[in-house]
Every structure is written in C-alpha cells, then in structure tokens.
C-alpha cells in the first residue's frame, strides 16, 4: 500500500513552500494536528474560498433568467457599477468618505469606551470574590439583550445625537470585553502566581508582571470579537437617527429596494472589518509575541 510511504520531504516542501510559512525540513514535525503553532493561514485556501464565493455569486446571478432575481440580489456587474457610482457621488447627502468615516469613528469610539470600561471590570471580577458577586448577575442579565430592543429606550435617554449611537456600540462591546478580561485573569496559572510570590513579588508586581501579560492574549481576542460585534450592531445604532453612515445607508436604501446600494455597503463594511482584523493581528504579533507559548 503506497499510503504508508510518506511523500518525499522535498516534494512536500516544493508543493506547499510557496504558500506556507513552513519551509525546509527543520520545522517539520511528525505530528501537527492540535499544535496551534503549526496552523498558519493557508493562502491557497484563502484564494480558494474567496474565489469559490465569487463563483457561486456569479453562477446564481448570471444570464437573463438568473437563479436569484436581480432585484433580490444584484449581480457582480450591477454591484460594481453601484460601487463606482457610490465612490463618485456618494449616497443622498453624504460622500462615500463621509459615510464611511461616520461609521468608522462611531465603531472606534464605541469600542474604545467599551474596552476602557470592560477591562477593569473584567479584571476586578477575576480578582475579587466580592466584585465578581456584584457584577456577575449584571453582566449575565444584560449581555443577551439585543441592541435593537434598546432603540426606544436609548432614544428617550440619550436622544438622537452622536452620543446615543456611540452608547449603543459601547453596549455592544462592553460585555464582550468584560468577559474576555475576566477569562484572561482566570486563565493565569496559579503556579505562576505562587512562583512569583515565592520570589518576593508584591501585589502590584503580581498584577503588572504576571496577570497582565498572561491575560493580554484573551483581552486581544476580546477586542477582535468586540470589533465584529460592533460592526454587527452598526445598522441598529444608526437607526438611532442619522442620514449619514454605512448602516443608515443600508437601511434607507432598503426602504427604496435599492439592493445594489445595500450590497455595496454590506461589502464595504465587510472589507473594513477584515482590514481592522488584520491590523489587530499584526498588533497582536508585535505586542504579545508570547501568545500561545505559556
């Protein structure tokens, strides 16, 4: 049975070396499944999945009698035309850049405030029995509430200004950040803490040199998740009263059944989301190189 004969290393390296980071024989391990450090992004598969999506899109919208009607989901050509027109003329009362910046700044403000509130609360919940008792029911009670359900309340409390939208995005991200920070603290091995104590560390040093670095990977994951949740809440947030923003554009265009504009803005949000995630990954690699090695 030829299955038992391993492929020559040189051939494997030649096949994958162009795309994978695993080059040469020295980094090859006999068993890799479950070893997270071996899982790097496979660009072959990235191209494959993106190309596949585009192909499916093309297949279901092509021809004079497409599987999905043009008004239900526009084809690539129509979306491209709508995109270039959106870049040139914007939509309604804003240019493409004004819409994008309005939404981007709301998401970043919401995320920043959510993080600034969430990390200390999460750390406190991980470090103090009393504070955990206080915050646990609050977090668990409010976390599952969908932001859309809060619209009328937020309008009454905060009005329809900019702060109201940012507050809704804070709401979306703060619970994620609290839970991530708490999980980060809880994940710090007790042996590390006791080792540090036995070396003479004080409380502050424990927090600064043991807990913080060990919790950071979880916090970073939390920020990435919160970023996604924030973009996901954008349409709801911009229902709080604005004509300018990607989410508001999607809502207004849908009222006029302008599906090409809806799809363009969905894709713009998607691309911005991916770009921000890439930035976060680069930051992560720079700032916490010890991730996954503790």
């Amino acid at each position: 049975m030829s299955d038992h004969i391993p492929a020559p290393a040189a051939e494997t390296a030649a096949t994958f070396g162009r795309f994978d980071r695993r080059r040469g024989n020295q980094s090859r391990k006999t068993v890799t499944f479950g070893d997270a450090s071996e899982v790097t992004t496979s660009k072959v598969w990235m191209v494959f999945s993106l190309g596949g999506l585009m192909l499916i899109w093309w297949l279901v919208t092509r021809g004079p009698e497409p599987m999905i009607a043009e008004k239900t989901f526009p084809g690539q050509r129509a979306v491209w035309d709508a995109f270039t027109r959106w870049l040139r003329e914007g939509y309604r009362r804003g240019s493409a850049w004004e819409h994008t910046w309005a939404s981007l700044s709301r998401v970043l403000k919401g995320l920043l405030i959510g993080t600034v509130i969430g990390i200390p609360v999460g750390f406190a919940m991980g470090l103090s029995r009393r504070l955990r008792g206080i915050f646990d029911p609050i977090v668990e009670l409010f976390r599952p509430i969908p932001p859309l359900a809060l619209l009328p309340l937020f309008i009454m409390w905060f009005g329809i200004g900019e702060q109201s939208k940012v507050n809704l995005l804070v709401w979306a991200s703060v619970w994620v950040m609290i839970i991530a920070a708490r999980a980060g603290v809880l994940g710090v091995g007790g042996s590390k803490v006791h080792a540090a104590y036995s070396l003479g560390a004080n409380r502050w040093q424990i927090l600064r040199y043991v807990i913080l670095p060990n919790a950071l990977p979880e916090v970073f994951t939390g920020v990435r998740v919160a970023l996604g949740v924030s973009w996901g809440t954008l349409v709801a947030a911009e229902l709080l009263g604005t004509e300018v923003g990607l989410g508001a554009t999607i809502y207004i265009a849908s009222r006029f059944f302008r599906m090409d504009i809806v799809v363009v803005n969905i894709l713009v949000i998607g691309v911005i989301g991916v770009a921000m995630d890439i930035v976060m990954r680069v930051l992560e690699a720079r700032l916490i190189p010890w991730r996954g090695k503790g």
């Binding site: 299955d3 598969w45 999945s49 009607a69 043009e70 008004k71 239900t72 309604r92 619209l151 009328p152 309340l153 309008i155 009454m156 409390w157 009005g159 329809i160 200004g161 229902l239 009263g241 604005t242 004509e243 508001a248 809502y251 207004i252 849908s254 009222r255 006029f256 059944f257 302008r258 599906m259």
Partner: protein, 358 residues
C-alpha cells in the same frame, strides 16, 4: 491524506452553514388563533383552493380595520376552507419583501408608496383592492417646544430634525407638505425611523422638531402636547391621497384566483357589516388591533372602508390609484431617492378579482 481531511473539514463547515440558513424562517405566526380547530365542512361555499391548505396574510398591528372582525372570528378560515395565518408587520416595505420571498400571499393594508416603490424596482406584484382610505391617521406632529405652525414652518423648521419613516406614504406626505409650506428641503434633516414607538420616543426626548408616523403613535404624541402642522383634510385639499391597498404577488393570483376573490368577498362583507352597525364591533376590532377601545375608535373615525363599487370607480382603481403611483414615483425621482419610475402603473392594478365580488 491530510489534504482530504482539510477538504472534508471545509465541506462539513459549509454544510453546517447551509443547514443553519435552511432552517431560518420556520417559526409559526404569533397570531394564529387556535390553528387546531378543524376547518368547518360547510357545503354552502366551495372555494377552489387549488391544493392550498394555508393562506398567509400580512397586516399591521395598531391599525384597526373593519375586516378584523372576520379575522378574529375566523370567518376567512371558514369561508376559504383553509387555515389563514395573520402575520403582523411594521412596514409596507417589509410586506413587499415578504411577498417576494413567497412567505406572504396577501398583504392587507399595505401602503401605496412601498408597493409602488417595489414594483418600480421590478417586482411582479399587483393591487387587487383598496383596503382603507385615511388622511388623519397618518401625519406629522410638531413638538411644543419648537412652536411650529403653518405660517412659520419655513423658519421654525429650518435647520431642525424631523423624524420620519422613509420610502413610504408618510415620507411622501411630509415632503409634499414641506414643499407646500415653503420649507427648504436641504435645510432640514430627515431622520429615518421605523415609526411607531421609536417616533414617540424621539418626540418625547425633544431632539426632533417634528415626528411623523401612522396609527396610534400620532394620538400618543398629540396627547403629549404636540400639534398638527396641517390637518389631514388640509393635506387632502393639496391633492395628497392617503390610502392603503390590498396586494398580492401576481403569480399567487394566477395560481389561486378564487382564493383571492373569496378573500375580497369576506372583506367586503365585513366592511358592509361595519358600515351598518359599527358600535357592536368596536371591541372586537380594538382587541384584534392590540389597542384599547378609545384609541382604536379615534383611528376608526379617520378611516373609510370602501365598498366594491367605489373601489372600482374612476376615483380609485379605475385610474386615480395608477395616477397617484405615477405622481409619487416621479416625485421621488425628482428628489433623487430613486433613479427611474415606470412609464405607467396601469399594469400593476388587476381588478378582475374584485369584479368577482358580489
């Protein structure tokens, strides 16, 4: 081997996603009253249901209509000989999308504007009847702090926020009213809203000079101290017609013509019963609309339910409705909301079903 595992993992993930998407809209309607009751086997009426065993109808909450007596007493179910599911909606736009998806067969009381918008974008839906005419039940209420009146609207609304649904008749009415009052449209911010509770909340918060809505929200805002800038009849005098229609996907009518006609027949009978004796039906209607009797009645006062002959006359489906759609869509083209309007809206009105009503 490893590649195969990767492919398998990819396919499995894909399958999971597909399965998740497939199981989407299976929830049952909240308002189906006792679907377990057997369809009565009265032999008096024989509607050819064409293999249909359920009819899905879209309607509005907080929108009391005469036919809700028939809805509550399940007259539709009895006459049609099938289960009628009533699905509550928040906007006529959503009704159009639900009809497009095939989940809704008949939209009762869809606004004319969302309907016209959607057929303009290429949908194959048709109007089969006029549900209700109303002018006072759809309006804009000015916040007392801003002191807006007809005389000073051009100055008092300049630079202010106006809260309004977008792409529906409320939006159209608002734009026509502002135009009439000489308000510079570039100088006001129209804040898109879902109407209803959101409009009331924005009004009570006071960030908006005016909030536009339909149904019970208007009464709430008036009770909170707001004032109408123009009354419904003043707006009607400008030629702004406000009415809701009964619409279907054209293919549904082609497949089940007798179901559509029977639906219109039950509606006609319910409207006639309401016209002859409203008092005894008020409580039933209010309960079905999810309102208290006083609130329901104040809306009913503003409503006119047209009989078959009026609907078929030139004042309505005989030509005026088609012209109203053309006017509204041309107006939205001029406003830059849409790119083009249809040349004519004659083809999206089909009176053949209504003509079968006695």
């Amino acid at each position: 081997m490893k590649n195969w595992r990767r492919i398998m993992a990819f396919l499995m993930a894909f399958g999971l996603v597909a399965a998740a998407c497939g199981s989407g809209g299976d929830s049952s309607p909240e308002t189906t009253a006792a679907t377990t009751t057997d369809a009565p086997t009265t032999t008096a009426v024989a509607v050819d249901t064409g293999g249909l065993d359920e009819l899905n109808v879209a309607y509005f909450l907080e929108w009391p209509t005469a036919n809700q007596v028939a809805q509550a007493e399940q007259t539709y179910d009895d006459v049609l000989g099938l289960t009628v599911n009533w699905w509550p909606f928040a906007s006529g736009n959503d009704m159009a999308l639900a009809m497009e998806s095939g989940d809704i067969d008949i939209s009762y009381s869809q606004g004319l504007t969302p309907f016209a918008n959607y057929v303009t974008s290429g949908a194959d839906h048709v109007i089969v009847g006029v549900a209700v005419s109303y002018a006072d039940a759809d309006n804009c209420v000015a916040h007392p702090d801003y002191g807006v009146s007809q005389d000073n609207a051009a100055s008092s609304l300049a630079g202010q926020n106006i809260y309004t649904p977008i792409g529906n008749v409320t939006h159209f009415k608002l734009l026509k009213m502002l135009e009439h009052l000489g308000v510079d449209l570039d100088g006001v911010s129209l804040i898109p809203s879902e109407g209803g509770p959101a409009a009331v909340a924005a009004f009570e918060n006071g960030d908006v000079a005016m909030a536009c809505a339909f149904g019970g929200a208007i009464n709430t805002m008036l009770a909170a101290g707001g004032n109408l800038v123009m009354t419904g009849s003043e707006q009607e005098a400008l030629g702004i017609r406000v009415f809701d229609i009964i619409s279907i996907p054209r293919s549904f009518g082609d497949d089940h013509p007798s179901v559509v006609t029977a639906f219109l027949q039950v509606t006609e009978d319910a409207n006639a019963a309401y016209a002859s004796d409203r008092g005894s039906l008020e409580e039933t209607i209010a309960a079905a609309a999810g309102m208290d009797v006083a609130g329901s009645n104040s809306l009913l006062d503003a409503f006119t339910f047209l009989d078959r002959d009026s609907q078929l006359s030139d004042a309505w489906l005989g030509g005026t409705v088609q012209a109203a759609m053309k006017e509204q869509m041309d107006f939205f083209v001029a406003q830059g909301e849409i790119d083009t309007a249809l040349d004519s809206y004659d083809a999206v009105v089909d009176t053949s079903y209504l003509e079968g009503v006695r």
